[in-house]
């Protein structure tokens, strides 16, 4: 195989590095693509308006809100912040801040709603099943008498209305749906922008230090996983060797419960310290107690187990 010329490899490396640096953007665009793809698949495969007076509204609404609810719950499941706050909260009830968790989890459902509304299929099915006199009069203004009865059948091909009238109604529904979709997008974008501005305004540190802090937190998390895995492997090996070879286990340092609890707490920056995380704060504290060496003592419970 011929070796690729050096400058092509360099370009490839630059492109790769660019993409790796934009992880968040890529993540969000991927989520958007997934939502669009999912919505297309749904419409093609699953969604068929029943064109029935009683069921249209419920059906359209279920297909609009069901996937949104599922995406919201999935977003909450995958948010580590939520679990970090909730784990062990019965022992130590603290102020739970829901806003930041929810804003993260709300992105996918809002994307779904926007895409579904821009498409228009779900909305037109739901709205054509409405019973309210006010709404039906609004839709059927300047139309024939049959419009009222056949409104529910308009999304399918089987209504008895003339094709022109049917087209008119469909276009009106689609226009309403798309206007609703665009307004949702604009409102979400404005709220997001205002929220980000507010949180950045309230940050206690400057921009560069904030960027460094985010990077540090990421790296610490990565290294924590690697360290914890390594430590767990060593501990498991030591225990198993002691068990199978029937010999005493070597001494092994354990962080205490309190230390673990301290580093699991949520970190808020404070100007007086130079710490970037709860871990650093715990480690750098001068009055940190060393975990007492646990000497195994033959207590009465152990004595009972022998029999």
């Amino acid at each position: 195989m011929q070796k690729l010329p050096a400058d092509t490899m360099d370009n490839f490396q630059t492109v790769l590095r660019f993409f790796l640096n934009q992880k968040a953007t890529i993540g969000y665009s991927f989520m958007a693509l997934l939502t669009i793809g999912g919505e297309r698949i749904f419409t093609l495969v699953s969604f068929q308006c029943p064109c029935n007076h009683d069921q249209n509204f419920a059906y359209g609404l279920t297909f609009l809100l069901g996937p949104a609810a599922v995406l919201l719950v999935l977003g909450l499941f995958f948010s580590t912040k939520l679990w970090r706050l909730y784990t062990g909260c019965c022992l130590n009830p603290m102020k739970l801040s829901f806003t930041s968790i929810f804003t993260g989890a709300c992105v996918a459902p809002i994307m779904w709603l926007c895409v579904a509304l821009l498409n228009g299929t779900f909305y037109e099915c739901a709205v054509s099943g409405l019973d309210d006199n006010l709404v039906v009069d609004l839709f059927c203004k300047n139309k024939t008498m049959k419009c009222r009865e056949e409104l529910a059948r308009v999304p399918c091909d089987r209504s008895k209305l003339s094709s022109d009238e049917r087209m008119e109604l469909l276009l009106m529904f689609r226009a309403q749906s798309q206007i609703l979709g665009w307004s949702l997008i604009i409102i979400a974008a404005v709220v997001g922008l205002l929220g980000t501005c507010y949180t950045n305004c309230r940050s206690k540190v400057s921009y560069l230090q904030l960027t460094f802090w985010k990077r540090y937190v990421e790296k610490e998390k990565e290294r924590f996983d690697a360290y914890a895995m390594d430590y767990a492997t060593k501990l498991a090996e030591r225990n198993l060797q002691s068990f199978f070879e029937n010999k005493a286990p070597e001494a092994f340092p354990f962080p205490s419960h309190k230390a673990w609890e301290e580093i699991s707490a949520h970190y808020t920056f404070s100007r007086s310290e130079q710490c970037y995380s709860t871990l650093q704060r715990c480690v750098e504290r001068t009055d940190r107690e060393t975990p007492p060496e646990k000497r195994p003592v033959l207590d009465s419970e152990y004595g009972m187990e022998m029999h």
């Binding site: 029943p50 029935n52 279920t62 297909f63 069901g66 499941f77 784990t87 019965c90 198993l240």
Partner: protein, 317 residues
Amino acid sequence: RVPASLKTTRAVMDKFKTVLNIANQQTNLGIGMVALLTAGGEQIFSSVVFKCPCSQELNFVYGIVFLLVPALALLLLGYIISKKTWKLLTGLCCPRKGRSCSWRRLFATGTVLFQISTTALVAPSSWIAVALLNGNYFECAMTGVNASKARLCGGKASAELCQKELFRFPCGRGISGVPDADKDDVLLTLRAQSQILGWLLIASIMLSNLLLGCMARCASPISYLQLKFWRMYAQQESCMIDSFSAKHAKELAERNLKSFFNGTPPEDIKTPSNKDWEKISSLYKFSAKDHYYSTLHRYVERHKLSLHMRHFNKAER
């Protein structure tokens, strides 16, 4: 030199093992994979195997069997695959001395069963949800029910004929007497009901899972990072116990066979006693007082002193 085909086979088997490992762990990724696989399997099953019999007596039973029986099979499979089930059940029937049937033990057993069930229920509920979203089974089942005939066919021009021929609708076109439009209407109504039911099921299961997860995490005696570490440790220990057991078993077998075939007395070998094995086999519950991460760990730490003394006595002799 290893041939290329063997290398690729080995690589594929490794990847497969990693996938199985991920699916077996109780992580979000594993559960998502199981759900997706079940959904794919259901689609294939329903397009290839399912054919509504279109008979008055069989429709309902056929539809319900296809909906529920594979779900039951997946549930049982979920119970069988989980290691915790076997850890709980092994030796449960033989009453041992010192192991009284107290309420606390029953409660602990119940909690563990509940945990195993929540993981085992992922595949059956995905099956039922995807089957309902598809609509075939529900359609077939409901066209065989007498009670819904009047409601489905009501208000149509050919109501009487529709009610009589209702069970033939899922099979195709060309049913004499009933216009295609009416037939499509009925089928679409059934399909819509099925899909609404499916979405409600999915949403309620996910919400209840989230609430249960929150409650379980809230009641956990340890913090988030320690829980994460505990899971890593439990996984590593369970992986390594397999390899250590295999190594030890090989040594013990070799020693026994050598002694048998050579007619020599067997050499001394250090192997854990019955009591030791029993001590490390129970399921571990984390308590805030100790810093042990498993029953094996607790046993090893508590026996430190007795083992020290044993070595000391041996050395003295």
